[in-house]
Symmetry: C2
Subunit: 453 residues, 2 copies
């Protein structure tokens, strides 16, 4: 590794082999991170896309693993350098490069932090991205794109893959390309979507062009109660079917309604924002579709507590392992999916908690966000095996917005079928040395077998 | 070719070498089609995806060109077998396979004709796709997807790439894959968008899953006049900026307003449809953004004449060659783009007509649809060179919804830069024998140099 560190220093001004940096770069916020973490050999901190390209070219030549990382807030192990090598810390590629107010577009570096981006867009430009994941203060633009992030207002603004108009990407061999053509183009395939969700396995996103909106002039809130989770799901389906897209539309099952709102019902939290005429029409449609009116109280409570998280390391010290399983499916499958996943995990020895809510809706379906917990580290793998089995048997997608990382890599080939074999072909074409984020997405690489489980 | 025809017959029940079939399959509706057309050696008409796969595997093995074709209504030569070989006529893969009413999804074969699809969705299910290109009666689902089609109602419903939730694709080596995970997924890159717009060069779409909407219960129409095209563009920009997405929003310059509506202004035709509350709010926002009120007359006139076309073969016999150039750009570039393209073509010797309208709008920009005509076949290439130069110099996309085909293939490498080189890498990975639609998108193949110009 001495040779590659020297070579790295010629490619990138900031390269660290300090113990504290290596420990820090070894993990993200995945429940099992502490048990799997392996220190990288070096952390490279490029300040430009050209430095990213030089690092990749050097590592391709030397056959050294490269794990791209943003702020490492991911919860699936996607940024963990489980085969050692180099962690490519992209936080130095931060900040807004340009705003086109007429076209409502921003160019931002991959390392731009979410809250800094949103604050500057609002205060300096009167604009918003509309992307507000729970991790907004600890995640980056590049991380969002690499993992197909969703924000809490996605029912109006879409997921990050709906917001992106183009990318700058550094390839494994050091080429720098630009993808996308705003606002739409019919000039061959859109390579943007090849890199969005690739979790750093096909290329490294260095900058993104994202679509903006005026900071919303109006906001209306409401909450409703439903006798059953299935009745609430059906109301959400009907709202979307009528073309209404309220920014926030979150339906909690009885376990989560009790815990979060102290209400013995299935709470639907609704908030829309934007042009006043459209917000009013949208909220009128929501009101039209039924449910017991609960006032704005639950919305305020949700807003006050929406960023609360558990300290998973502390829970692990108590022997409790928890995780969240966010999945997507068509409306026709959702009621069965909810039942099947909760029942499958409940059937695993050691399970102490299962609950769920609907978190992001579309005309054709929604995301179901399930929380599980169990006793002992041995509980974790069987619980996920049970959940993934139920998701795939019901026709759901294994993830809606957390991504695959290490946590779900072993399920991906079966989930995608022969399309995964095509992904392998594309990986070999774009990263022939197999250096990019080895161990993720179930893709081939040159550094030994799968690292986990 | 005798050998491959025999081999084809073992892969596909219907294979024709009849003279009339070969002549018919030689061309599409491109202005220059008659001057460039070359007869294929055979037309294969598969009835199943398995037959498609078998034909592709046979042609990969034998190194024979395969040009996939739908109803050949394209206007860029994309379905023309300019290197001979086999035309793969996909019209036998027609019809609706399944409708999921709750999830608002339809599975339809690639050969399904547009009007048949829409008629069945409306009459049997009370649903609509919302995709209504001028070619709806002479184009197929697979053709729409291969070329990134847009319909006249796209400002509400999106382009075909926004409507597609997944694809069945046959690869050059005969593998059949399924892409996509409805409604959204974070399970690696979305390979759907790799094949959408690939114009048959990376794989053959055999079936698609598309998103639907209820047949619209309400519709409101209006028209407005603007003193200048730029003022009208700015009104459209402000309407989209407020989040309103009226299904139809078409702004005609003075030349087209005079020709189509006999009005000496810049006519904006607006029509929205859907849930009544949202349609009212949308049309209120449109009215808010100014323009002289013209009543519903221009909308009715547009509806009555929207499918009118010229007989380009007849015009060519008179020595007149015309074409349409549809391009996309951000709102900040559109006024300059309009001026630059019209001026560039007007400066070419022999030009007799230039005009334009805005046809499809998004938050970040719009499609500009320019009509040009000139005297003599020699006028055509310089006119396109001038137009493409102006588009690229202004930062526009070379096509918004017609695609690239033969007509624009020579401009694509420069337009995409190094991203085109990546497309070449992907082509080599997915079609190593280079058999798929040779001559299109400026991609490498094994059958001699570019066929045109």
């Amino acid at each position: 590794m001495v040779d590659i560190v020297e070579r790295l220093r010629s490619a990138c001004a900031q390269v660290s082999t300090d113990e504290a940096d290596l420990v820090d770069a070894a993990r993200d916020r995945w429940t099992m991170a502490a048990t799997v973490a392996r220190r990288p050999d070096a952390v490279a901190r490029p300040a430009t896309a050209a430095e990213v390209a030089d690092v990749l070219a050097a590592c391709s030549e030397a056959g050294v693993p490269v794990t791209p990382a943003g702020a490492r807030s991911g919860v699936c192990g996607g940024a963990m350098p489980v085969h050692g090598g180099v962690v490519l810390d992209l936080q130095g590629l931060g900040g807004i490069v340009a705003v086109d107010d007429a076209s409502l577009l921003v160019d931002a570096g991959a390392g731009t932090m979410g809250d800094a981006l949103e604050t500057e867009l609002r205060s300096a430009h009167g604009l918003t991205l509309g992307h507000r994941p729970q991790s907004v203060a600890i995640s980056t633009v590049g991380g969002w794109l690499a993992c197909r992030s969703a924000g809490q207002y996605s029912t109006r603004y879409g997921k990050i893959e709906d917001m992106v108009a183009g990318l700058d990407v550094a390839l494994a061999d050091g080429r720098l390309i630009h993808t996308g053509g705003a606002p739409r183009a019919a000039t061959g395939p859109d390579l943007t979507q090849l890199f969005v969700g690739s979790e750093g396995t096909l290329g490294v996103i260095t900058s993104a062009r994202l679509r903006l909106h005026p900071a919303p002039p109006a906001e209306i809130r409401a909450a409703y109660g439903f006798e059953s989770f299935a009745a609430g799901l059906d109301a959400c389906r009907r709202i979307l079917r009528r073309g209404a897209t309220p920014a926030v539309l979150r339906l909690y099952d009885t376990a989560e309604s009790e815990r979060s709102f102290e209400l013995s019902t299935n709470v639907l939290v609704v908030l829309d924002e934007g042009d006043e005429m459209l917000v009013r029409a949208t909220m009128d449609i929501v009101a039209d579709e039924g449910g017991e009116r609960l006032g704005e109280g639950p919305v305020e409570r949700w807003l006050a507590h929406r960023d609360d998280t558990y300290d998973t390391d502390e829970l692990a010290r108590q022997g409790i392992f928890g995780d969240t399983i966010e999945m997507a499916a068509g409306w026709s499958s959702l009621p069965a999916l909810y039942q099947a996943v909760l029942a499958a995990v409940a059937g695993v020895e050691g399970t102490v908690w299962t609950s769920g809510h609907l978190s992001h809706s579309y005309g054709d379906g929604a995301c179901l966000y399930v929380t599980i917990a169990g006793m002992g580290a041995d509980w974790y793998v069987p619980a996920w095996d049970a959940a993934a089995g139920a998701i795939l048997a019901t026709g759901g997608a294994l993830s809606h917005h957390h991504g695959i990382g290490l946590a779900k890599a072993r399920f991906l080939p079966a989930a995608l079928g022969l399309a995964h074999a095509v992904l392998v072909d594309l990986k070999r074409a774009l990263d022939p040395a197999g250096i990019l984020n080895p161990g993720k997405l179930g893709l081939p690489h040159g550094f030994g077998g799968p690292a986990w489980p």
